[in-house]
């Protein structure tokens, strides 16, 4: 929609051009979120396109995704065959919304927006990713995916700070099998629970990236394939306040669905019988 309040549109070619960050400035990557809601507090948009941060790189250490990488580019990229876990990245794209949205939306945009329904956040957590953050006047630093989002639509980013790239270690990509499960009130729309399960068949290790149902995405790890009881008790460790409780879904229901999807995710990976992504 048209944003009537925007007065200035900046298109920096490098971060150095972005000095003197103001409270009513906002980064703009694909713009698909910015332009889908009224943004009363924003007066200046800082377009990131000319920064040229859209690379996908395969390095010995793992995968590196530039923040402004268009989401659909992940679908088209040929990853090394051994990196079976990249399937989860593709699922994050497919399960966001229409493929037309993902022609314009960026990976970094979804992560930095940090909706509880983010499809990328639980994937990044399950894959043990870390984020490289750049500051206007300081050294870049890394933060673990798990520590990035603090609440719905809140991250550790300080004004002017920006996500530069996402790194996924080789060790979490190679041989890991993944499954993506989500539940929304309707068949489409914001998820009220998303479970990304990563399973390593050789070691039996299991990592659950949990999003959607809780205020900030979380990780639950097991050294062996968990029993249903173990799943219940692992979830029991979350405090009730961690669950989102709103008009889209009560805390009790979200908790229940979280557990159902964890169970379905791990069953799928251990039995090899592929189920649905959406319930």
């Amino acid at each position: 929609m048209d944003l009537y309040n925007i007065e200035t549109y900046l298109r920096p070619k490098s971060l150095r051009e972005v000095q003197d960050w103001q409270p009513n400035w906002n980064w703009l990557a694909g713009g698909t979120w910015i332009f889908n809601e009224v943004q009363p507090q924003v007066k200046t948009l800082v377009d990131m396109q000319r920064l040229n941060w859209s690379e996908i790189e395969v390095t010995p250490g793992g995968l590196s995704i530039g923040a402004t990488c268009i989401q659909n580019d992940l679908l088209d990229f040929s990853f090394p065959e051994a990196w079976t876990a990249t399937g989860a990245l593709k699922d994050a794209v497919r399960e966001l919304a229409s493929f037309k949205l993902s022609h314009a939306a960026t990976v970094g945009g979804n992560i930095c927006l940090a909706l509880s329904a983010s499809t990328f956040a639980p994937v990044m957590i399950a894959l043990n990713a870390s984020y490289e953050i750049w500051q206007p006047n300081g050294e870049p630093y890394f933060v673990n995916a798990i520590d990035f989002q603090t609440a719905p639509q809140q991250t550790i980013l300080q004004p002017g700070e920006v996500l530069r790239r996402i790194k996924v270690p080789d060790g979490n990509l190679t041989q890991w099998q993944t499954s993506f499960k989500r539940m929304a009130v309707c068949t489409a729309g914001y998820a009220i629970a998303i479970i990304v399960t990563a399973y390593h068949p050789q070691t039996n290790r299991v990592r659950f990236g949990i999003g959607g149902s809780i205020k900030s995405p979380r990780l639950i790890e097991f050294d062996t394939v968990p029993t249903p009881e173990q799943i219940v008790s692992a979830i029991g460790a979350f405090s009730p306040q961690m669950y989102i409780d709103n008009e889209r879904g009560s805390a009790a229901y979200r908790r229940h669905i979280t557990q159902v999807l964890m169970q379905r995710g791990i069953t799928e990976l251990t039995t090899g019988i592929k189920g649905k992504r959406r319930y």
Binding site: N5, L45, L101, R248
Partner: protein
């Protein structure tokens, strides 16, 4: 000023500047690419789809500033001398109704990759259609590239009963600028309103100085600038049955979203910014959002003396309906089983894709012209005339192509302030609602609590029915009583029972008003009644089909509840056949136990309904039909094609009578200056009433033509035959063109104009069955398949009728499983967008089998009855009944979202 943008649209270069917050959608529309449609502006519906360097994107959420050096393709760019294969496929398979979603569908579908129909449906997640139920869209896409030579249907073959293509198709698949907002006179101003942030408040003071001072603002209006005159926004014929309780602008606001002030400015952006500059001092009043609380009368929503026709303003009761028959006590005393339940129905929104939009201006001769997206141009004209003291002749209201209405445009919501602004400024003014305004400041379906108490004999005969509805009409009473009347009247009337009573209480609350919505109250009542009967059947251990058959009215029965004489009438009746078709289609076997497989349970369920065709004695349709000097016909009717295809069906009727084809009949519709009066498009009336008017007028014209020809060529009228080109006797022939010219010479008119109301409003019946699957762990209901049979009398155009059926059914699916406006304690709507208020998408729609059962009705044209609304009523109760069969859980509240299903199952355990 920002840098200029260089880009290409459909291979044409553009160099332009725009404000930095402009969306690509607005940029393209401002450049004249009107086929890019504005619907949600949030990326959810796909109506604005264009290709950016050959990749489809949603232009509403794409920053115009990023378009520099890119290539854009819009629907206007697809044609290359001829239609693109996808456009042709949509035309051949008629993948549209109102056409508002069509350009976006075609732009998306042209770029899709899929391996199966299921995949295709999933890929269409980002394209919403509210009219078709997607079936025709999917058929079009699947057929793309196959040569579907569509043969024209000749006059000899007849026109009624044939799938004549919707005549507006070529415009719709090419994205022609045919809708209201696609054209405006030069010098257009834009209107926006400041809306109330409080559910209930008095305006103590309002200061518009700052807003007026903003550059580009033309005028600001508040309640101080308008004559205080109460009216109803409902589009009804005079005398209107609704409370007169609404004001152009008022000193009081009654819901969050109510109008406070209007700004007219050079651009929408300036108007919107100016609204924020208006300073209002509100005296916040206590509010009530729950009808039961409201009825206590601690808060009085309409305490103003000027309002009238309110049943009991002190208790916030806008209207009351009481219907009685027989004696309840006697009935219940006879009963072996008495079952009492309360059903809870939510407020839901129409989601017609084209928003409310009006443009008004003054003609050279001082006529006030209103171009508007309305279902009721004539009622609108009358109301404007009353509100502004202008004679009706000096007001012209007309509607261009409509992008859907579903009842929400049987309402005068945008024309009034637009006209105020034009009259005050003397300039053309446009007012276009945003999607958020559609969700928060138009109308919803009435939320209701319906209690039913039923007494039955052990063998299944109903002996007493007591029904009570508390109907939430929101802040204004438009349509409240009439809607609530149907809630009781149809569902009770459908089942024979000597002792019945119904009380409907229409209650004001501080929430968005409710209004007319396809089904018009019958939808709510049908859910309650059909769930109730199903539960009774299961309690008595009788097959639910048998129980219904035992109690359903037949042609022998009169529907007399609350009335001295016949009101709705059974003209033709084929409900028994409908039941047979549906049960067969689903291989229904009453003995079969529901299937269970792990956490998945399956079940089947059914529901019946009836709905009248138009309003007897009230709904007036006038038509004029003439033979023109070129030998073709012209049909003028005030009726409104909301997108359904009625402009085509009406021509089919005329063509059939006149022995010609639809192509030979030009139609001019819905224009108060150029067409005769028609009440408008509502109450499933167009085919039945306007259609009959056309039928009668065409017959009269036919005799008149034959008589005139007989005089000219001097033979007996009986000898003559009329065909598409000529009138011929055994020896002589006169071509229609000659006839017309000869008559013109003689000063004779070859025109017939007549008025028609129906003494009857024949009832249409429908029966629907579904098979569902319930995931007992999550509570998700999935509809596996469904079958619906509609007792339609005669399908004038089967494909169009089929589209009404599938579209209605899928709207019912949304009502059943997903749709609900959610309110907070202030009455603020929490989900005012298509992301959070989900309407069914293509992948939600199960395979549908539709049966149009034809048994000619004695009162409709060629035996036709209404079909516009009925399709919506049965889906929700049939699903609820199927879930009950599968799981034993009875859901008495809509929508049946997974959490509710799961919670109900928890209680069962």
């Amino acid at each position: 000023m920002p840098d200029s943008l260089n880009f290409q649209v459909n291979n044409q270069s553009h160099n332009t500047k725009c404000n930095p917050g402009t969306s690509l959608l607005s940029l393209l529309r401002s450049l004249g690419y009107a086929g890019v449609h504005r619907v949600c502006e949030s990326g959810d519906c796909g109506s604005c789809t264009v290709w950016l360097d050959d990749k489809p994107i949603h232009s509403c959420i794409y920053p115009a500033m990023q378009v520099d050096s890119h290539q854009i393709t819009t629907i206007e760019g697809l044609e290359n001398g001829k239609l693109s294969p996808m456009q042709q496929a949509f035309l051949d398979k008629q993948g549209f109704q109102c056409g508002y979603c069509t350009p976006g569908m075609i732009m998306t579908a042209s770029k899709l990759e899929y391996n199966s129909e299921a995949e295709l449906r999933a890929e269409l997640e980002g394209n919403l259609c509210r009219c078709t139920g997607y079936e025709a869209i999917i058929d079009s896409i699947l057929e793309c590239g196959n040569d579907n030579l569509v043969k024209p249907i000749t006059a000899k073959e007849g026109q009624v009963g044939k799938n004549i293509p919707k005549q507006d198709g070529p415009n719709l698949v090419t994205g022609k600028p045919v809708y209201t907002a696609d054209w405006s006179p030069p010098g257009l101003l834009h209107l926006k309103v400041l809306r109330s942030p409080y559910p209930h408040a008095r305006i103590r003071e309002i200061n518009t100085t700052k807003a007026e001072a903003l550059e580009g603002v033309e005028a600001v209006f508040t309640h101080k600038d308008v004559t205080r005159r109460a009216y109803s926004t409902a589009g009804h014929g005079a005398p209107v049955p609704d409370p007169l309780d609404h004001y152009l602008l008022d000193n009081k606001v009654r819901f969050i979203g109510d109008r406070v002030a209007a700004v007219v400015a050079e651009t929408e952006a300036i108007a919107a910014i100016a609204c924020e500059l208006i300073e209002v001092d509100y005296e916040i009043l206590p509010h009530a959002i729950d009808p039961v609380t409201a009825m206590k009368g601690d808060v009085v929503i309409h305490d103003e003396p000027e309002s009238s026709q309110i049943h009991d303003a002190a208790h916030n009761i806008a209207g009351e309906v009481v219907l009685e028959k027989g004696d309840l006590n006697t009935g219940f005393a006879e009963a072996d089983l008495i079952l009492e339940n309360t059903y809870i129905l939510p407020a839901v929104q129409h989601v017609h894709l084209e928003p409310h939009v009006s443009i008004s201006w003054l003609d050279e001769d001082g006529t006030l012209v209103v171009r508007s997206s309305t279902q009721v141009p004539f009622h609108c004209q009358r109301l404007l005339s009353e509100l502004f003291d202008i004679p009706k002749e000096k007001i012209r209201v007309y509607k261009p192509q409509l992008g859907g209405g579903f009842g929400n445009k049987q309402e005068i919501l945008s024309e009034d302030l637009c006209v105020l602004a034009t009259l005050k400024t003397g300039k053309p003014v446009q007012w276009r609602f945003t999607r958020e305004e559609e969700f928060t400041a138009t109308n919803s379906r009435h939320a209701m609590n319906i209690r039913i108490k039923t007494g039955v004999k052990s063998y299944g005969t109903i002996v007493a029915q007591e029904m009570e509805a508390i109907s939430n009409t929101g802040a204004y009473g438009n349509h409240g009583e009439t809607v609530t009347f149907l809630t009781g009247c149809f569902p009770l009337g459908l089942y024979r029972c000597a002792n019945q009573s119904y009380k409907g209480t229409v209650v004001y609350t501080n929430t968005m008003p409710a209004g007319a919505f396809r089904g018009y109250g019958a939808t709510q009542g049908t859910f309650a009644m059909e769930s109730q009967l199903d539960e009774i059947a299961s309690k008595l251990n009788i097959d639910p089909i048998k129980l219904r058959q035992q109690n359903l009215i037949t042609t022998e029965d009169e529907i007399l509840i609350g009335r001295e004489e016949h009101f709705h009438i059974i003209g033709s009746y084929a409900l028994d056949e409908c039941i047979e078709k549906v049960t067969q289609a689903l291989d229904y076997d009453p003995e079969k136990q529901p299937e269970t497989k792990g956490h998945i349970k399956r079940g089947v369920g059914f529901a019946a309904t009836m709905q009248a065709s138009g309003l007897a004695k009230i709904h007036l349709a006038s038509v004029k039909i003439s033979l023109m000097p070129n030998g073709q016909y012209e049909l003028r009717t005030g009726s409104v094609d909301v997108g359904t295809g009625s402009d085509t069906s009406l021509r089919q009727i005329a063509a059939e009578v006149l022995g010609t084809t639809v192509e030979n009949i030009t139609i001019i519709t819905a224009d108060t200056h150029n067409t005769p009066f028609d009440a408008g498009s509502y109450a499933s009336a167009t085919a039945f009433i306007t259609g009959q008017a056309v039928n009668l007028a065409a017959q009269k014209l036919r005799s008149h033509l034959l008589k005139t020809a007989a005089q000219i060529i001097e033979v007996n009228t009986e000898e003559l035959k009329l065909d598409e080109a000529k009138i011929s006797g055994s020896q002589t022939t006169i071509f229609l063109k000659q006839l017309a010219q000869e008559a013109q010479k003689r000063g004779e008119s070859l025109s017939v104009e007549l008025e028609h109301t129906s003494d009857r409003a024949s009832l249409t019946f429908a029966f629907l069955g579904v098979e569902v699957e319930v995931d007992t762990e999550t509570g998700r209901i999935k509809v596996l398949r469904c079958a619906e049979a509609i007792d339609i009398g005669k399908a004038i155009n089967p494909r169009i009728c089929h589209g009404q059926a599938t579209g209605g059914l899928v709207m019912g699916l949304g009502y059943a499983l997903a749709e609900e406006l959610r309110f907070n304690e202030q009455g603020k709507i929490l989900n005012p967008g298509l992301r959070t208020y989900r309407i069914p998408a293509a992948s939600d729609v199960p395979p549908m089998e539709i049966f149009l059962i034809e048994k000619a009705d004695p009162y409709g044209p060629f035996g036709a009855k209404g079909i516009g609304e009925i399709g919506t009523n049965c889906t929700a109760p049939a699903i609820a009944n199927a879930v009950a069969q599968a799981t034993g859980v009875r859901l008495k509240q809509l929508p049946m979202i997974p959490e509710r299903v799961w919670m109900a199952m928890q209680k069962l355990e």
